[in-house]
Symmetry: none
Subunit: 188 residues, 4 copies
């Protein structure tokens, strides 16, 4: 397997369990079954690993989002689709999702470029879509940029809420409640 990829996944695994700051590079190396030095062949600093995790995941989401736009779906369906994607990822890659949410929610914590860049790109894309839906009369009179951000807060928050109970039913319930809240919330 590609070493960089191995490191990315191992790092996410440990970050999600311990948090970025409590994770040592040695831990990541142990998780990946490689030597510390090897990590530094692929990444200049520990922070760069976190950056890379964001890079990859955000790009995946942005691409997914862009893909959605081509299908001329209603705004509700778009949000629903994205939530599906999100919950799917959460189940398949719980560690990476957790890292993504965890660190993204503390923008004050890290000064990394990537994190800042991405953390507004996705909401901005959604805002754009909300605006169009508004012009089409699909949804009510809302402040698109703010509501877009609120929606992402709900999506991110779902990671924590999901964690409280492990049952699949709970996760589905969380998703359906978010959908319901948003659907009704953006109507006129």
């Amino acid at each position: 397997m590609d070493k960089k990829e191995l490191i990315r996944q191992s790092a996410a695994e440990v970050f999600s369990k311990e948090g970025y700051y409590s994770t040592t590079v040695k831990m990541i190396a142990a998780e990946a079954n490689i030597a510390v030095g090897t990590i530094y062949i692929y990444f200049k600093t520990k922070e760069e690993i976190l950056d890379y995790i964001f890079d990859v995941e955000h790009n995946k989401r942005i691409q997914y989002f862009e893909g959605l736009q081509e299908h001329s779906l209603g705004i509700i369906e778009v949000i629903e689709s994205f939530l599906d994607y999100h919950f799917n990822e959460l189940q398949e890659n719980p560690s990476i999702s957790k890292v993504l949410v965890q660190e993204d929610l503390s923008p004050l914590m890290s000064k990394t470029k990537n994190m800042r860049t991405y953390s507004s790109k996705l909401p901005d894309m959604l805002a754009e879509m909300l605006k169009k839906a508004q012009e089409n009369g699909q949804i009510g009179n809302i402040d698109a940029p703010i509501v877009a951000r609120l929606i992402f807060q709900l999506i991110k928050g779902s990671v924590y809420i999901s964690q409280e109970k492990k049952e699949v039913n709970w996760q589905n319930e969380v998703k359906s409640q978010i959908i319901s809240l948003i659907t009704k919330g953006i109507q006129n």
Copy 2:
């Protein structure tokens, strides 16, 4: 002024600017104009300071919440009141609010007992109120515990969204959009 209180506020100030892990005890001492050693008279560890910040703030909020219950307000008014309280705090004590949200959102990150305890207490209280409102027919058919949690995610998220622009108008707009989203979202 009470030393413990001085430390709490100074710590919150620095935590909010630098994040918990990047803050050194020396920085807190400098901010408080006292010696490092003094901090260790009032707190056993650095983590205990963070704990204490949570302790105080959560208690304030819980008390405020309990106070609200006595006034037999409608659920929407309760939420609105709490949001008022929250945004007021955000303006008066931006640093403490930021710390509260920042570190609370990463339950995975810190192993502190207090934080875990509190982070579900407030949602549980709100869930209780939502349930009653539901029984009264005030609101629609929702999953109270989940929705309560989602509402708190929105409140927490508002700290970040508020930060994007400094204007008071923006803050008011954020608040009103949250209210609107929730109000419509929990109707039948």
Copy 3:
């Protein structure tokens, strides 16, 4: 004893035995019987310790030199005096003298500011004195700046030559040969 002074001397001791690069901060701490961390209270980096050693020693020499100028001595006496001072230091503080010479001779090695600044100041002062002596007809037709530098090379070199044999007689002989070489060398 002053801690900074203790560190300076301990560092010089180890540097002189092992060389700057082969010396670890742990070694310095061990030599000084203190903890590594203590060193970092007084110095920001390992390099700063070297810098400080230079700072102190060069300043001593510059002051000594300036003191000599007030006594309106002949140029030969000045050089002789400085050599006396130099050999005296060499005997009393062999480690510091060695470090001084060792690292000063490798200007390419360290990019430190102090070292560069000082390493030409002393020769420049001597050049000035040589020039005046020349104008007075005390000495012959030489290129003052170059000869000043050559004289310092001889002085520095004497540290190594002195090391070959430990006998005091050898050291005296080295000194007297340097004096003789210079005295005759700068005559007409």
Copy 4:
């Protein structure tokens, strides 16, 4: 070109710019356009490369010196010849000369055998010649071993002095001042 020779020159190039300790084996490999592993086919350790540079250069000088002896020149001419050789090398192979002088001047720094061996061999040969010249009455009453060493200090020092200005004139002036200083210095 011979690989070992290529490595020697590339290493000298980098050593002269960065100093021995700040040079990594990777840098040498990059300079030579070969792989790190290749270096370890020809040299067992990094130190051995430095050793080899000394080896080659000292041998060149010793051979040159031995060649001089066959021409039954006067001592002054011998020194002058050697200086010519030295300054010529300095212009043609500045990097190697710098390394030679830089690292050789710190016998305390490296524990290498070769360096120690050579650093006294050349002075010893010169001392021998001085002694004979003394017996012939060519020069005055000096301490041959010491003066021989002082002469080499001047030669080595010239590398640094030469560096201060790039003009050829300056280099010539340095050489002529050294000759003059020695010539007059060893007369009776």
